[in-house]
């Protein structure tokens, strides 16, 4: 027991402390449970209302997943395009600079108005938001070649296609893994914010409805589920990143 508990506390004391502080704060401040539910109340609400939570979660996750895949393909595609042409790469540097210097999330209301309040809009928004990290990291990764390797390929008379598939793409794998990790977090955030702002469907809309009905347990339940899923996704993508570094780095 001790062998299991010690590493667990060593790795997770920060988050445990946060949950304990929440519970203690509610108990000590004597706040009404309706105003500020305890973490255990929220878990109970999730457990007893699974039929409410699960469909909303499914919608949000599907939107985030489709958006992530679409944005990733688009970003990688454009990254390869700029890899093939230095002029295109130079002209697209403003996009790269904008992604790192400007809060891209603020584009969501504009995109919501451009595409209209339809069911496809959330997916379209997540595609565009996840496009940015995929494009920035893939175009940087395709150029991060091991020293001398490009010369070797040139001497051996490799075609452009061959250089791309055998050298540039494998060299870009660690960067693509980073893009996936950042993109996954971005996609879920974008899907939730879009659903919240448009009040359409999914966890974001559920949270908006719970907020206007002052149903704090429901709102916090949505928060807790998203938090748990994002943490899992983050830890998973960290694994992928380690694997990509070990295999291709």
């Amino acid at each position: 027991m001790d062998r299991l508990l010690r590493p667990f506390i060593r790795d997770w004391w920060g988050i445990l402390l946060l949950l304990l502080a929440w519970q203690a704060w509610v108990v000590l401040s004597g706040l009404n449970a309706i105003v500020m539910p305890r973490p255990l109340d929220v878990v109970a609400d999730i457990a007893t209302n699974l039929p409410v939570y699960l469909p909303a979660l499914g919608i949000s996750l599907a939107a985030a997943a489709f958006g992530l895949v679409g944005g990733f393909m688009l970003g990688l595609g454009l990254g390869i395009l700029t890899w093939a042409s230095t002029i295109a790469a130079g002209m697209l540097t403003p996009v790269t600079v904008l992604f790192s210097s400007v809060p891209v999330v603020t584009l969501i209301p504009i995109l919501a108005r451009l595409f209209g309040y339809g069911p496809g809009t959330v997916v379209a928004i997540t595609v565009i938001i996840s496009f940015f990290p995929a494009f920035v990291f893939s175009s940087a990764g395709l150029r991060a070649l091991p020293p001398g390797s490009a010369d070797l390929f040139r001497v051996l008379g490799a075609s452009r296609w061959r250089v791309l598939t055998s050298l540039a793409l494998p060299a870009a794998m660690p960067n693509l893994a980073v893009a996936l990790r950042i993109g996954a977090a971005h996609a879920l955030l974008a899907a939730m914010v879009a659903e919240y702002l448009m009040g359409s469907s999914g966890l974001g809309a559920m949270f908006a409805a719970a907020k206007s009905e002052l149903n704090t347990e429901r709102a916090l339940g949505a928060s807790l589920i998203v938090a748990a899923i994002s943490l899992t996704l983050y830890l998973l993508s960290l694994r992928v990143e380690h694997w990509a570094r070990a295999r291709y780095g």
Partner: protein, 249 residues
């Protein structure tokens, strides 16, 4: 032809193409009526009658972002110093920071809406985004001093606080400065998303109102203003970063 390959020339060219495309799509009506031409957006920002509105909103958002930026930086550096002196706490602190970062800000917003008055949600969300980036940069920076220097301090019997002030902190400043640059857009994202969750004023409020009331030009103007503020602050932070790198490396 050499001039045409200069990355700066290509970057300016790319920006021009982006602006022209924005103007052209808007003026031709290709993007529908929710895509205004750039000239109309700029005209609204340049209209002195609007300066009062934009000025108050931008001031409020900027104040939230700055407060969050300062407290987030202090929290990030403090946590990094704590794990620097007590390395046993490092894995848990890493998880806490990564966890807070991986969880979409939307998911945390309800918790703070309940805990705090409405106008302190934007600075809090800004602070959380900043704290993670600064913590990661500071934790890496404090480890950057060379082993030989560290041994010297050890042999001369330096007090741990003297070692921190005279060796680890100066050696870590370049990394911290990089983190501070990357944290600029994070502070603005936090401030704007915090405002979407019900702050009384700010650019985020203008954006959501513009979206919901079909004030399309106002919506685009407010988003452009956020982007311009972020870009300016990012460039200033970049200049500071270069000065720190020149002095401490």
């Amino acid at each position: 032809m050499r001039l045409a390959r200069d990355p700066r020339v290509l970057g300016v060219l790319g920006t021009l193409v982006l602006c022209l495309a924005w103007e052209g799509i808007g003026a031709s009506g290709l993007g529908g009526f929710t895509w205004p031409p750039l000239s109309r957006v700029l005209a609204m920002l340049a209209d002195p009658d609007r300066w009062d509105l934009f000025g108050r909103a931008a001031g409020s958002t900027l104040a939230s972002a700055v407060v969050g930026y300062i407290f987030g930086t202090l929290a990030g550096v403090a946590l990094a110093m704590l794990t620097h002196f007590l390395p046993r706490l490092a894995p848990g602190a890493d998880r806490l920071a990564a966890g807070m970062h991986a969880i979409p800000t939307v998911a945390l917003a309800p918790v703070f809406l309940i805990l705090l008055p409405a106008d302190s949600t934007p600075p809090t969300l800004a602070g959380i985004g900043v704290a993670f980036l600064v913590y990661v940069a500071a934790a890496a920076g404090l480890r950057a001093a060379s082993a030989a220097h560290r041994d010297l301090f050890q042999v001369l019997g330096a007090h741990p606080s003297a070692r921190l002030l005279r060796l680890d902190l100066p050696a870590g400043l370049p990394s911290i400065a990089t983190g501070l640059r990357l944290a600029v857009p994070a502070a603005l994202i936090g401030a704007v998303i915090g405002e979407w969750f019900g702050a009384p004023r700010g650019l985020g409020v203008l954006i959501v109102n513009g979206m919901q009331n079909f004030q399309i030009v106002l919506l685009w103007s407010a988003v452009l203003l956020v982007a311009l503020i972020s870009l300016t602050a990012y460039l200033i932070a970049g200049a500071i970063e270069r000065a720190v790198h020149a002095r401490f490396r």
